[in-house]
Every structure is written in structure tokens, then in C-alpha cells.
């Protein structure tokens, strides 16, 4: 269950105290007009209207008496001009949240975090760009194939698969299937819980695949040298450009 914040608990306690005080003084409070929330001048107006009531009945009986039409007189309890037609319970029309949700203001709590995050990544990018230059090799030359030629790093897992399977399997079927299954994940996984202890299978399956993918990318990036042959980067150097 969600924890109820302190200020709400305090408010509830105050309301309960007030109610208790009201019960104890119930006998006197009913008579004590100054305790009610209705302003004095409105109460006076109600009393005046009650006094007028006999006169209004008389004028209704004799409509041609010539006196100016009086304002409508209430017939409800206490001389009210409105009547209670029905009681709409909270929750029957509007969705009322029964459990209080602990919320915080986006400003400053979230926006400051986002601002700091954006600032840090900008600073990191700028500083990194000052010290490390993006590669620009010599002009593209169709007659000179570099050895090895590698795809961008995020495709090197696929290129690594090319050494194991037919290109149609490695280049199209496996990535296509992976993407397809990824899209379908929420419709395949019917388990409603988001607790890690309830989704051991889903988590291990994903972890295995991510690790598998990570290892392939690593091998393709760092452990493949000329001719895309297996090498150790510490022995034969890096063949990797970002």
C-alpha cells in the first residue's frame, strides 16, 4: 500500500478532532447561531422573509389588490427557495481517487533533475569533442577496399553473425525476427506483474539475449582483424573506428 503523506494524515486528524468537539457540544450548538457558518445578514434576511409569508398568502388570494409583486417565497424547510432533488454521490460521475497519491510538483523537483542531466550530457559531449576528433579517413575510393571493412558498431553484431550463417539468415532473418519479437513483447508477455521476483523468466530471457548481442558486438568490434579473422586486440592492435 502507498504510504500516506504526513500532511494528509495531519489534516485527517484535525478533522476528526473537530468532529468530536462538535458532538460533545451538540446540545448547545444547535441553538447557538454564532457557531454556524451562515453570515449574520443572510440569517436576518431569512427571518424577514418568514415574517412576510402571511402577507404573500394574502396577496395570492387577492391578486388584484394592486400591491407590487413580491419576490418568490420559499416553500422548502426553513423558507428556502431551492429544494433538494437528489444526492449525487462522489464517484458516481467523476472518478474520485480514493487512495491519496503522493505527488510532487514538476517544478522544481523534476525540471531541475532534467536540467542538470541535460547540462551534464552537453558538458560531456563538448569536452569529449575537444579532446577526441571524429574520424575522417581519406576520400572514398572504390578501387581500394580497406581490410577489414566494418559496419558501424551497432551493426557489428550482425556482421559477426555473417561469419556463422548465410547472409540471408544473418542479415535479414535474425534482425527482422528480433525486431518483430521486440515489438510483440508486451502482447506475448501476459504476466501482469512488474515485480522482478514475479518475472524471472522474462528477465533472464532478455538478459541472455542482450548479453549475447553485447558479446557479438564486442567480438565484431575488437576481436576481428584483417580478413575479419579472429585476433586479440592486445596482440595485434585495434581495427575499429567509431
Amino acid at each position: 500500500m502507498a504510504e500516506i503523506p504526513e500532511h494528509l494524515l495531519k489534516r485527517a486528524q484535525e478533522a476528526r478532532d473537530r468532529l468530536q468537539d462538535g458532538d460533545e457540544g451538540a446540545a448547545t450548538a444547535t441553538e447557538d447561531k454564532s457557531e454556524t457558518k451562515i453570515p449574520e445578514h443572510l440569517l436576518e434576511r431569512t427571518v424577514a422573509a418568514k415574517d412576510r409569508e402571511p402577507a404573500a398568502v394574502a396577496s395570492a388570494a387577492a391578486p388584484v389588490s394592486g400591491s407590487a409583486p413580491l419576490p418568490p417565497v420559499g416553500s422548502g424547510p426553513g423558507g428556502n427557495t431551492q429544494r433538494l432533488l437528489t444526492v449525487v454521490k462522489s464517484g458516481s460521475i467523476q472518478d474520485v481517487k480514493l487512495k491519496p497519491v503522493d505527488k510532487v510538483h514538476v517544478w522544481p523537483h523534476l525540471l531541475i533533475v532534467e536540467f542538470v542531466a541535460a547540462l551534464s550530457i552537453t558538458a560531456f559531449t563538448v569536452i569529449f569533442s575537444i579532446f577526441v576528433n571524429a574520424p575522417l579517413l581519406e576520400l572514398a575510393n572504390f578501387n581500394q577496399t580497406p581490410n577489414p571493412s566494418k559496419a558501424p558498431w551497432y551493426f557489428l553484431g550482425l556482421q559477426e553473425l555473417l561469419t556463422l550463417f548465410h547472409p540471408m539468415v544473418a542479415g535479414v532473418t535474425i534482425p527482422g525476427l528480433a525486431l518483430f519479437l521486440l515489438i510483440l513483447a508486451p502482447y506475448i508477455d501476459k504476466n501482469p506483474s512488474n515485480k522482478p521476483e514475479d518475472r524471472k523468466f522474462a528477465i533472464s530471457l532478455m538478459t541472455i539475449h542482450l548479453m549475447f548481442w553485447g558479446v557479438l558486438v564486442m567480438i565484431g568490434s575488437f576481436f576481428r582483424g584483417p580478413g575479419f579473422n579472429f585476433i586479440f586486440p592486445w596482440a595485434e592492435g585495434l581495427f575499429f573506428e567509431l
Binding site: 517544478w107 533533475v113 580497406p146 566494418k150
Partner: protein, 254 residues
């Protein structure tokens, strides 16, 4: 009349400015730039409600949603990197012509003769790699929190589309410097796509704008990179962010 101090004069000017029609037409009623800001719950709400932020965030979020340890800010960082890439990319566009004869020279000139040219190109490159990384990690984070479950299934689908778009954006950008790295990386990539069953050759032809990589490919990938893919990505991002709010804010707590 007593002489006004500089502070008082400045105060007068700012008062005049704030009561002008121009100022009040720019800032909505309730904006903190009209009324000033003092810390109160109402003003905290106004900051969001009377600014563009309201398109992205509600006034209040669940307390756990602001914990950095839950999201690691990965989605927000991906979006921010997209903006950073747009800004640096626009700068690069001023100095680049997408033809086989000029592309490499333009990049070279940009690096050697344009003020901040090298720095901005570096930033564009590294931010692009970073964005692939953050988008990928964002996906992993969402998976491990089970945040793709109802009612967020469709937002996950959009997320996977955005991941694909990010990879395509990065890959189309890879060719543009027209150096040996670009040419042969793209050769490897497009050869792979040429193995699509049944219409492999057609797929390759459409991608390359010909039977082999050339100046037509460059133009095609340039347009994809600077216009079409960002356009599509922005639309999907808009839906993605809208759905985050409509589906009840971010998921959790676990």
C-alpha cells in the same frame, strides 16, 4: 525632485516594460514573467501551466517518478541528444554539399577553415553514438521495469519504432563524410540488406539509388538523414510523449 539611484531607475524601467502591451502579449496571465516568482505551491503550478513545459509535463507527478535511480533520465537524455544533434546538424548543413565530388572536401574544409567547425562536427558524431546508446539503454530499462505492460503496450511499440529510426538516422549519417570508413561501412550494411528474400535486389536498388553506391546514394541518404527520418522521428516522439502522460505517467514503483 530627489535624484534617483541607478537601482531605482532600473526598477522603473522594468516596471514600465512589464506593464507594456508587448510584454503582456508575450507572457500569458499567470506567467511568472508577469507576476514575478516567489516560492509557493500555486506559483510552482503556474511555472508549468503557463509555459511550454505543460506540453511535456503535468503540474505534478508521482513522487517516485522523480527518482533518478528509477529512470536514469535515459528517455529524457535521448530526447535532449536529438535536440543537440538537430542544432549541430543544422550548423553542419551550412558547409556541406551532398555530391561525391564535394562532400569529402566540404568536411575537410569545415574541419580546417571554419570557426568551431571541427568541434561541432565532433559533437555531432559523438552525440549520435551517445544517442544510440541512450535509446538502447532506455529500452533495456523499460523492459527490466516491466513498463511495457498494460496500459503501455502500444507506447512500447512506438518506442521500438523510435529505436529503429535512431539506428537508421545514425546509419544514413555514416555515409555523408564520403571517406573510406563511410563508403565501406555502408557497402557492408547495404550488401546485407540486399539479401532480403524475394526482392533483395529491388531493396538494394531503392536504398542506393542505383546498382552501386555513388553520388545518387549520397543525395538520397542526405535527404533521408536531414529531413525525412527526423520528420518521422519527431512525429513518433510526439506520440510517444503524449502516450506517456495518457497512460498514467511513468510506470512503477516496482
Amino acid at each position: 525632485m530627489p535624484k534617483q539611484s541607478v537601482g531605482e531607475k532600473l526598477n522603473d524601467i522594468s516596471e514600465q516594460m512589464k506593464s507594456s502591451q508587448a510584454w503582456n502579449s508575450i507572457f500569458r496571465p499567470g506567467s511568472i514573467f508577469r507576476k514575478g516568482y516567489s516560492d509557493s505551491p500555486r506559483n510552482r503550478s503556474y511555472v508549468v501551466m503557463n509555459s511550454l513545459i505543460y506540453h511535456l509535463h503535468p503540474v505534478k507527478v508521482k513522487r517516485h517518478a522523480v527518482k533518478v535511480s528509477y529512470t536514469l533520465c535515459l528517455g529524457g537524455l535521448s530526447f535532449f541528444l536529438f535536440i543537440l544533434l538537430t542544432v549541430t546538424g543544422i550548423f553542419l548543413m551550412f558547409f556541406y554539399r551532398p555530391t561525391a565530388a564535394q562532400a569529402w572536401d566540404d568536411i575537410y574544409t569545415l574541419q580546417t577553415s571554419v570557426t568551431f567547425g571541427l568541434l561541432v562536427r565532433n559533437m555531432h558524431r559523438w552525440a549520435a553514438h551517445l544517442m544510440v546508446l541512450t535509446v538502447f539503454l532506455h529500452m533495456a530499462r523499460v523492459f527490466y521495469h516491466g513498463a511495457y505492460k498494460a496500459p503501455r503496450e502500444f507506447n512500447w511499440v512506438i518506442g521500438v519504432i523510435l529505436l529503429t529510426l535512431t539506428l537508421l538516422l545514425s546509419f544514413t549519417g555514416y555515409l555523408l563524410p564520403w571517406d573510406q570508413l563511410a563508403l565501406w561501412a555502408v557497402t557492408v550494411g547495404t550488401n546485407m540488406m540486399g539479401y532480403t528474400p524475394v526482392f533483395g535486389d529491388q531493396v538494394r536498388f531503392v536504398l542506393l539509388g542505383g546498382v552501386e553506391i555513388g553520388t545518387d546514394t549520397l543525395l538520397r541518404w542526405y535527404v533521408l538523414h536531414v529531413l525525412m527520418l527526423p520528420f518521422v522521428a519527431v512525429i513518433f516522439m510526439a506520440i510517444h510523449f503524449w502516450r506517456v502522460r495518457k497512460d498514467g505517467g511513468i510506470s512503477g514503483p516496482l
